[in-house]
Amino acid sequence: MAGKLVKSIREAIQLAGLKDGMSISFHHHLRNGDYTLNLVMHEIAALGVKELTLNASSLFDTHAELEEHIENRVVTKINTNYMSSGLGRRISEGLMEAPVSFRTHGGRPRDIQLGITPIDVAFIAAPTADCAGNCSGKFGPSACGSLGYAFPDAMYAKKVIVITDNLVDYPLKGWSIPEIYVDYVVRVDAIGNPQGIVSGTTKITRDPVGLIMAQTAVKVIKHSGLLKDGFSFQTGAGGASLAAASYLKNVMLQENIRGSFASGGITGYLVDMLEAGCFESLMDVQCFDLKAVESIRKNPAHQEISAMQYASPAAKSAVVDNLDVVILGATEIDTDFNVNVHTDSSGYIMGGSGGHSDTAAGAKLSMIIAPLFRARLPIVTDHVSCISTPGRDIDVLVTQRGVAVNPKNQELMLRLKDAGLNVMDIQQLKAVAERITGKPGHLTRGERKVAEVIYRDGTVIDSIYSV
């Protein structure tokens, strides 16, 4: 047991037997505060290992050093669920030969479990661990709360290395990932910068347009017929989505509705709802702020779930399949309700599905909330430049100037019309936007395929081309 504790990341990498052409993995709970990926990649590069496949649940701007490792062919293939704009821009400019494979938060654990994307060595950044590798995100100076996305890596990788900056006596009390999966443990000075890991507080938007959309979103939920005892809900951490959560809380309390659970990335707003009795439980795959971290540490009703339990289509059942309502964002949505969350208005990669398509597929009501235009760009297009989530999984688009219901959901359309909401055909909504902004010219895409979008069932649903 004591033999698991090794002196350095380099030693652990060597002991794990990392060789050219292998696959390594990382999880992203430390978000833009993560030091671990850079520390590990630096050692790997120094060891001269080449042509690795990097499987990371998400990549952030703090991982910009990867560019160098890609240029030096240390990394030649990337599998990820999300990529922020720093690295995304370089990928779009044609940095890599092999296209990046984008999956979803549910598709990634599925493909790891099924051996489609096997992992040779997994690196788990653990805010607290003991010398046997029992580890948790709930405690320590770099506490991040849930370690949900790291579970498939721990369970299915050939070798698992836990990296911690808070090594405690065996046995760690309240571990999330148990020692049975762990090969080596390394102590480092810091696994991340707490300021970048979780924000002190996530704040609801002050943008009046966002607040208007949030109010409309809650009206849609209220009149959908789903808001009753046992209600389940998920929303992102965007300002308007959080505002919707806070308005929803008021409605649930006023009407004395006791929901079942809220899931996904958890913020203080959902913690407030749990504590106010709006929900019986939170199903937490990732914490977004300190309040959520404190809650998951202290409140047994606030439960950590693995990426598999969250969203994997290979799991025997998953939380997303029990969702009533999910609120999601979009950079573009087309008149068939296909949604793009991968690329920006110029075609550069700046995001990814994350749990977008998983929750949209699972929830009874999938709502996109987005301003009808951003600066001068209308959100509704004839064809999205990248399909992240297929339109068949989207029920309704909420904008500040009207609501469009997918014609496949006639019941919802009637309910919202009866409730007096400003329901429009999505073509009409597009026309409203273009009357204000003018009709945008089409983007011409580049020659080279720089990424592919793999739907949660494993099928490639779209490709992203160079800019």
Binding site: P208, V209, L211, I212, Q215, A375, Q400, R401, I436
Partner: protein
């Protein structure tokens, strides 16, 4: 109907473009306090273009021009009148003569543009001690006057007192304004509530203004608009009662009765007039019962 009027800074395109969807009955494009002296030219051109090319949907458009003691107000009107806003709001109006100056200037521009005279109405902003004392004269000074508008911030400076959330210091001004406006047969609008983070306070303040007789209230934050609309809309109870009153009157008339009672109370002319106002407003808002 002007329950809520939302101030928008006249030189900030990012805010102006979504002005119409924030729920206000009217937007006030502000060329005065929200615009630095060096940007007055820029704001008037931008606001003019926004009205001309974009419009504000179902919202009525008010433009707050610069005061007649500044070198800007005529240029403001030169730019804005041709695009036909619904109302001009001249600030710091202290006497009937202030209105006359603006009135005459607008008349000349209306003629030049080929508009019918008095197309563009005025909502003078009264925010000085002298203006309060002259409120009736101002309200009755021109056919263009649609209403008068109380500005609490500048007024308290002029009164040498502090503006408070409770507003005791503007109590007299509020009452005087309502009385003057009603005497002149025009509307009267209340000063904005200035704490944008106090979501409860806005209700209290708006309810109080309504209880004094104000027709509506302005807002400096979109977050206050909904509260103002709620407070200044008739409640379903009010609407039901108004219909009951009208029904009782109808029955009374058909039976040839001179006096009609409802719930043991005599219905006199003012009650009928108020009931009719409530029904008109409810219809305009699409509230309450079908007839």
């Amino acid at each position: 109907m002007l329950r809520s009027m939302l101030f928008l800074p006249g030189n900030t395109p990012g805010i102006i473009i979504n002005g119409e969807i924030l729920g206000a009955d009217a937007v006030i494009l502000d060329l005065e306090d929200a615009v630095a002296p060096t940007e007055k030219d820029s704001a008037r051109v931008l606001s003019r273009n926004a009205i001309k090319y974009m419009g504000f949907g179902a919202c009525q458009v008010i433009v707050r021009i610069n005061g007649i003691d500044t070198p800007y107000w005529q240029k403001d009107l030169d730019a804005i009148i041709p695009v036909k806003p619904d109302f001009i709001m001249p600030p710091k109006v202290s006497c009937a003569q202030d209105v006359e100056a603006v009135d005459q200037y607008i008349t000349a521009l209306e003629e030049k543009c080929g508009f019918e005279k008095n197309t563009i109405k005025l909502i003078p902003l009264i925010e000085t001690a002298l203006g309060i004392e002259n409120a009736f004269a101002i309200a009755a000074s021109s056919k263009r006057i649609a209403g008068i508008f109380l500005g609490g911030e500048d007024l308290t400076a002029d009164l040498h007192c502090k503006r408070t959330k409770e507003g005791h210091e503007i109590q007299y001004a509020r009452c005087r304004m309502v009385c003057a406006a009603r005497a002149a047969g025009v509307e009267v609008f209340d000063t904005p509530f200035t704490d944008v983070n106090d979501d409860e306070g806005i209700y209290t303040d708006a309810q109080y203004a309504k209880s004094l007789g104000f027709s509506g209230k302005s807002a400096i934050s979109p977050r206050h608009v909904q509260a103002i609309n709620e407070v200044f809309s008739p409640s379903l109870k009010d609407i039901d009662y108004a219909y009951e009153v009208m029904e009782a009157i109808r029955i009374g008339k058909s039976q040839g009765k001179g006096a009609v009672a409802l719930r043991g109370k005599m219905i006199d002319a003012p009650i009928v007039a108020r009931a009719q106002q409530t029904i008109d407003m409810a219809k305009a808002l699409g509230l309450g019962r079908e007839e």
